[in-house]
C-alpha cells in the first residue's frame, strides 16, 4: 500500500504549504482515495474569481497511474467534457492518447503530484487548448466568439460562488 502512504504525504504537503487559491483533501477520513479540490479561477482569465469544485479518484496503484479528475461545479471550457471530466495531458498515461495531440513528455509520470495536476488545471482555465475538442461547442466559441464565451464564463463564476 505504497499508494496510501504517498497520498498521506501529499495531503500533508498540500495542507502545510497550500498553493494560492487551491484547497484539496480527502472527502472523508475513511477513504483517502477520493479527494475533493477547490480551484480558484486565475486572474485575467474568463474564469477569474470563480471557485470550482472538482473530485479526484485515485487508482490503487497511484502514483504509477494518474487519478481521474472531474469537475463537480458546472463549467464550460474547451478541455472539459460535458460531464465534467478534465482532458489535460498530465492526466493521461503514456499509453493512451485519446485525441492524438500530446507529446509523451507532457503526460503522467509518478513524479507528478496532485499539486502539479491542480496547477495544470489552473493554467488550463487561463489558457484553453482549443486543439483538443473535449467540448466542441466551447472550443468553437472560444475561437470564434470570445465575447460570448467570456459572458458564459462570467455567469458560471457567479454561479460557482453561489451568488445567483
Amino acid at each position: 500500500m505504497a499508494a496510501l502512504k504517498r497520498l498521506i504525504q501529499e495531503y500533508k504537503e498540500l495542507t502545510l504549504n497550500p498553493p494560492e487559491g487551491i484547497v484539496a483533501g480527502p472527502k472523508s477520513d475513511n477513504n483517502f482515495f477520493e479527494w475533493e479540490a477547490l480551484i480558484t479561477g486565475p486572474e485575467d482569465s474568463p474564469f477569474d474569481g470563480g471557485v470550482f469544485a472538482a473530485e479526484l479518484v485515485f487508482p490503487q496503484d497511484y502514483p504509477l497511474n494518474p487519478p481521474k479528475m472531474k469537475f463537480i461545479s458546472e463549467i464550460f471550457h474547451p478541455n472539459v467534457y460535458l460531464d465534467g471530466r478534465v482532458c489535460i495531458s498530465i492526466l493521461h498515461t503514456p499509453g493512451d492518447d485519446p485525441l492524438g495531440y500530446e507529446t509523451a513528455a507532457e503526460r503522467w509520470s509518478p513524479v507528478q503530484s496532485i499539486e502539479k495536476i491542480l496547477l495544470s488545471v489552473v493554467s488550463m482555465l487561463a489558457e484553453p487548448n482549443d486543439e483538443s475538442g473535449a467540448n466542441v461547442d466551447a472550443s468553437k466559441m472560444w475561437r470564434e466568439n470570445r465575447d460570448q464565451f467570456n459572458k458564459i464564463a462570467a455567469g458560471l463564476v457567479k454561479k460557482s460562488l453561489g451568488l445567483t
Binding site: 495542507t15 502545510l16 472523508s28 477520513d29 475513511n30 509523451a104 509518478p110 451568488l163
Partner: protein, 539 residues
C-alpha cells in the same frame, strides 16, 4: 439480479424450519421404529433435515458477520450475493452435470459439504472486501484489524481441519473424490492466506516510517505463487470435471469449457506479467548502478515516486535515482525515466505496453459482473483481484426539516456571503422574500441597508463567525442559534469522518480542518468578487 424473486435468508429459515417440523411430525406419527433411522430412510424427511442444517450454517455465518463486521456496506452485500449465487450455480452443475447423482442421499451429503465450504468462502470473501475498505484509510482503529486477523486465522485453522477430512475422503472413496474436495479447500485456503498476508503487510507498513525495501519482492512473490497455484488447481479441477463427466456434448460441459478458457487466459496473463517482471528486474540489476546512503545524501534524500526516504537506490543513466522497487514497478509499465523521460535500455522496450496491473482488467470485469447474463464467466476468479467498484460515499447529512432551522440556515448562508449586512436586516428581508436568491439580489441591488463597509481587506474569517455588533435581541438570538448550528455541523462532520477520524498524522497541529479551509476559500472568493463588482458598478 434484484429483479429475480430470490428468497431472503429469513424466508429461507422460516421454510426450512417448517420443513423440519413437518418431517419430524411425519416421522413421529407414521413409524414407531428407531427415530433417526426412520428420518434418514424417508428421502423427503432427510432432505428437510439436511436443508435445515445448511440453513443453520448460513444463519451462523450471517450472525458471525454481523457481530464481527457490523452492518455490511452495500458493496460487500452485493459481492456476497453475487458470489453466493455463482457458487450455487456451479455446484448445481457439478452435482447434476458432472457427478450425475441419482441417489438423493448422496446429493444431500454433497449439499451439506458445499454449504460448509460456501460459508467459509463467503466469509473469506467478505474479509477481503472489508480489508480493501479498511486499507483506504490511515485512521482505521487497530481493533477492527485485529478482529479481521483473528477471523482469518480461524478460517485458516479450519482449512487445516478440512484438509484432514479431505485426506480421509481420499482414503475411503478414491482419487477422484479426493481431487474434487481438495481443490475446493485449496481455493479457500489461498484466498484466506492472501488476504491475511496483505493485511499483515499493510499493518506493518502503516506503523513503520520509511519503506521496507524488500517488501515489494516478498509481496509480489507471495501473491504470484498463491494466485498461480490457485488458478492452476482450479484449471485442473475443471479439466478433471470435464473428463470425469465423460460427456462432451452437454450444457454442463459447455459451461465448464468456457470456464476453462477463462482460467487459461488468466494464467497466461499472470505468467506473461511475471516474465515481464523478471526481465525488468534483471535489466535493472544489470545495467543501473546501486547508490549507497553516503552518496545519496549528496544527491537527493527522498524517492520521487513514493516520497519516502532512500537508503539505497538505483541510478539511471540520466542521473536520477529511485528506490529499486518503485523504479521496477514503473519500468514494468513504461521504460522511461519518470523524471526526465529519457528512454532506457532497449531490452526493456515493449512487452510492457499491455496493461500490467491486474487492477485495470478487474475494473472492467467487475463492471461486467453486474450483468447476470455474462455472469458465469468466472466471477469466482475475478473476485481475487482488487475491485474498484467500492462505494464509499457516506449518505449526505440529514437536513433540518423545521421551518426555523431552515430559516436559520438561510440566514447563515446569506450572512456568510455578505458579512457586511446586519443579521436582523437579513432576517427581515428573508421573511419577506422566502428565498435566498431573492434576498441576495436585493442585497446586491442595495435594497437592504448594509453597514457602511470600510473594513480593510485583511479582515479575516473571525468576523464572519461572530459579528461584534448591535446588541438587539434578535441579533443575539441568531448568533446563539448560529453557534449551535455550527456545532451541529461539526458533529455531523465528525460522524461522517468516523470515530477514529482524528488520527491523521498532523491533525494535532494548528492547521484548520479541510472543511474549514474550503469554506474560507469560498468566502474569500465571494468577498473579492463582490468588492470587485460593486467597484465596477460605481465606475
Amino acid at each position: 439480479m434484484d429483479t429475480l424473486p430470490l428468497p431472503s435468508l429469513q424466508m429461507y429459515t422460516v421454510f426450512s424450519g417448517l420443513g423440519l417440523f413437518y418431517a419430524v411430525a411425519y416421522v413421529l406419527t407414521a413409524s414407531d421404529s428407531n427415530f433417526v433411522n426412520a428420518l434418514w430412510d424417508d428421502a423427503w424427511c432427510a432432505t428437510a433435515v439436511v436443508n435445515f442444517v445448511c440453513c443453520l450454517f448460513f444463519q451462523l455465518m450471517s450472525f458471525l458477520h454481523k457481530s464481527v463486521f457490523g452492518t455490511l456496506r452495500s458493496t460487500e452485500k452485493r459481492h456476497l450475493q453475487d458470489k453466493f449465487w455463482n457458487f450455487v450455480f456451479y455446484k448445481f452443475i457439478f452435482i447434476f452435470g458432472v457427478l450425475n447423482i441419482q441417489e438423493i442421499r448422496e446429493m444431500l451429503v454433497w449439499c451439506s459439504w458445499f454449504a460448509l465450504i460456501g460459508c467459509f468462502l463467503l466469509t473469506s470473501q467478505l474479509c477481503k472486501d472489508r480489508f480493501l475498505y479498511l486499507s483506504f484509510s490511515p485512521s482505521t482503529p487497530s481493533s477492527s484489524h485485529a478482529k479481521m486477523i483473528m477471523f482469518l486465522s480461524c478460517i485458516l485453522v479450519s482449512c487445516a481441519g478440512l484438509f484432514m477430512v479431505c485426506a480421509i475422503i481420499g482414503w475411503q472413496f478414491g482419487f477422484n473424490y479426493f481431487a474434487f474436495v481438495f481443490s475446493e479447500i485449496y481455493v479457500l485456503f489461498t484466498l484466506t492466506l492472501l488476504t491475511l498476508i496483505r493485511q499483515i503487510i499493510h499493518l506493518w507498513d502503516m506503523h513503520h516510517e520509511g519503506l521496507w525495501e524488500n517488501r515489494n519482492v516478498y509481496t509480489y512473490y507471495a501473491e504470484f505463487v498463491l494466485e498461480i497455484s490457485s488458478l492452476s488447481v482450479q484449471f485442473f479441477h475443471h479439466l478433471h470435471m470435464l473428463l470425469f463427466a465423460n460427456m462432451f456434448l452437454s450444457v454442463a460441459s459447455l459451461i465448464l469449457l468456457m470456464k476453462l478458457r477463462f482460467l487459461y487466459q488468466e494464467i497466461q496473463h499472470k505468467l506473461k506479467r511475471h516474465h515481464n517482471y523478471v526481465m525488468v528486474k534483471h535489466t535493472l540489476e544489470r545495467s543501473f548502478n546501486l547508490v549507497g546512503p553516503n552518496e545519496l545524501r549528496h544527491i537527493q534524500e527522498t524517492c520521487a515516486i513514493c516520497w519516502e526516504k532512500m537508503n539505497t537506490a538505483r541510478q539511471l543513466p540520466c542521473g536520477h535515482v529511485f528506490h529499486f522497487g518503485c523504479l521496477r514497478s514503473w519500468l514494468e509499465q513504461d521504460p522511461v525515466c519518470p523524471t526526465c523521460r529519457q528512454t532506457l535500455d532497449t531490452s526493456l522496450q515493449r512487452n510492457s505496453r499491455e496493461p500490467t496491473t491486474g487492477d485495470q482488467r478487474s475494473g472492467v470485469r467487475t463492471r461486467r459482473r453486474r450483468n447476470w447474463l455474462l455472469y458465469f464467466n468466472g466471477a469466482s476468479i475475478a473476485s481475487w483481484l482488487p475491485t474498484f467498484s467500492l462505494e464509499l460515499h457516506q449518505p449526505p447529512p440529514h437536513h433540518h426539516n423545521t421551518f426555523n432551522a431552515d430559516m436559520d440556515r438561510e440566514v447563515n448562508h446569506v450572512h456568510t456571503m455578505f458579512p457586511d449586512v446586519p443579521v436582523n436586516a437579513i432576517i427581515v428581508d428573508l421573511a419577506n422574500t422566502h428565498s435566498v436568491s431573492q434576498t441576495v439580489d436585493n442585497i446586491l441591488s442595495g435594497l437592504v441597508p448594509s453597514r457602511t463597509s470600510n473594513q480593510n481587506t485583511t479582515e479575516d474569517h473571525q468576523d464572519d463567525v461572530t459579528p461584534a455588533t448591535s446588541t438587539s435581541d434578535i441579533d443575539e438570538a441568531t448568533v446563539r442559534q448560529r453557534d449551535t448550528g455550527g456545532k451541529n455541523e461539526e458533529k455531523e462532520r465528525e460522524e461522517e469522518n468516523g470515530k477514529g477520524a482524528q488520527s491523521s498524522d498532523f491533525s494535532s497541529t494548528d492547521v484548520p480542518s479541510f472543511q474549514t479551509r474550503k469554506q474560507e476559500l469560498i468566502n474569500a472568493a465571494r468577498k473579492k468578487y463582490l468588492q470587485k463588482h460593486s467597484h465596477l458598478k460605481q465606475c
